[in-house]
């Protein structure tokens, strides 16, 4: 309900609909929602369920922020490690290539939930460095658990992008007297970045959705908050509402990413 209000600013900025904002379904939905909310507040006839939801919504949004933080950190770490591993998987050394292939295979074929359990329960809850003790909270362990599959996927995306550059370009650049490093930096890499962006964004969306699994190892994320809200209020209609709000929140965050990915993909098709 009110969550749809938060959904709209992100999606109404669709360039395709910019010409006729009044005909966009998003704008219409937002207007309807705003009208209903205004009517309820004006007449003081807000249904009890929505009053409850209104009270819980800030807590849920804070929970969603935890999910977003986890996803951003996991993706940043996963991208760094993944690029390194992707680069190693192209190295001339056969031993290195084998090791990286095993890494990629292992972490792409493991269920993400199992990896999260792995990092949460195997790592200690605090780290002793010389004489200081650092806490090692669960949400950081979840970040690590998600960074593992992310890095394996980024490595594959990187390898695929490098290999999709025709080798004739290397030869042509060599004949123009570019050095190996220059070819890589000036010719291959810029094209790779463009090719890697859509699958990388897909991966980000899927990692964001996987952050919901953090609730299973006791991180106070949005799913956990929804469960607490549903148990606290203990009304059938509120339970329905809160879980579908949860669905809407994730959709509101991930759908614009998916749309942007598709726009990018279509733009690259033309080149």
């Amino acid at each position: 309900m009110a969550s749809e209000l938060t959904l709209n600013p992100a999606t109404t900025a669709d360039p395709a609909d910019a010409a006729s904002p009044w005909r966009s379904p998003w704008v219409l939905t937002a207007l309807c929602v705003a009208a209903v909310v205004a009517f309820w507040t004006a007449t003081g006839s807000t249904p009890v369920v929505f009053a409850h939801l209104w009270k819980w919504l800030p807590v849920m949004l804070r929970g969603l922020l935890v999910n977003i933080e986890i996803s951003v950190l996991a993706m940043a770490l996963g991208t760094l490690v993944g690029l390194l591993i992707g680069a190693l998987s192209l190295s001339p050394s056969k031993a290195l290539r084998t090791v990286t292939r095993w890494y990629v295979q292992a972490f792409r074929n493991a269920p993400i939930l199992v990896l999260i359990y792995f990092t949460t329960y195997v790592f200690p809850f605090e780290i002793q460095l010389v004489s200081w003790t650092f806490p090692f909270p669960d949400w950081i362990k979840v970040v690590l658990g998600l960074a593992l599959p992310a890095s394996a996927n980024v490595a594959e995306i990187f390898r695929g992008a490098i290999q999709s550059i025709p080798s004739a370009q290397w030869e042509a650049a060599q004949s123009l007297a570019f050095r190996r490093r220059e070819i890589f930096r000036l010719i291959v890499l810029p094209q790779c970045v463009r090719r890697m962006l859509p699958p990388w964004m897909n991966l980000y969306a899927s990692i964001t959705m996987s952050t919901s699994l953090a609730s299973l190892v006791g991180v106070h994320d949005v799913v956990d908050t929804a469960q607490i809200a549903s148990n606290t209020v203990a009304r059938t209609d509120f339970t329905i509402l809160v879980y579908f709000t949860l669905l809407t929140l994730f959709f509101a965050y991930c759908y614009p990413i998916a749309r942007a990915t598709r726009v990018l993909e279509r733009r690259h098709d033309r080149f």
Binding site: P111, V114, Y117, Y121, L247, F251
Partner: protein, 248 residues
Amino acid sequence: MIDGLLPGLVAALKPLGLNYAFALDASERAAFVRGLGITLQLCLLTIPGSLLAGVAIAAALTSGRPWLAQPARAFVEVTRNTPTLVQLYCAFLVLNMLITQQLRPLGGANPLTPFVWVVIVVSLHKGVFHAEALRAGIEAVPRITLEAARSLGFSQRQLLARVELPLAVRFALPSLVNNLIDLVKMTAVASAIAVGDVTYESIMIWTQRDNVLELLLLILLYFGLLTWLVSLAGRWLEERWRMPGYGQ
């Protein structure tokens, strides 16, 4: 044979710091093996289930009828952009509760177990991805091939059954196999609603024995085996259905 072999294996792994003593306890071993079986059952049910759902959704998407295609498109977008766990909660905690409440005054028990809900949700979730792969496959069939077949006097049904679908399925096969590998991994979410799959049974064991690493290694090996089998089947199908003139 198991009685002779297992203690030996457990004793051999002990010096490596791996404590597999749970395997010697008859009830815990039985629980773990049951978990292995449940995960296998989940895979064996969701693979055909997701393929059926995928064909149905792809048919709706490519039907050309807006009243069918638009709801299907909305379903695809919502399913792709929300976490499976949340979908599972929406189905099991919300829909299941509603069904139970509706049935209670009638005196009937809810026939849908958590296991059934996992099969339904995972099948529909992956069915959406299958549908997208199939749609891409259908769109990849060259127009000119269809025109040629039509000019050779194929009827509309023959065209679909003999030319368009066989080609589309072959084009879609690599991504279908990829989706199925994902699906095998996804069955681990079943543990979230206490379906006794291998992950759930392992959690039960490691809360007693504190041997998380040992059990996780077993789980990873098991999922590795399952995904390997799926990819093997996929490669076998690709080999069998190879078309001259496509790929290497």
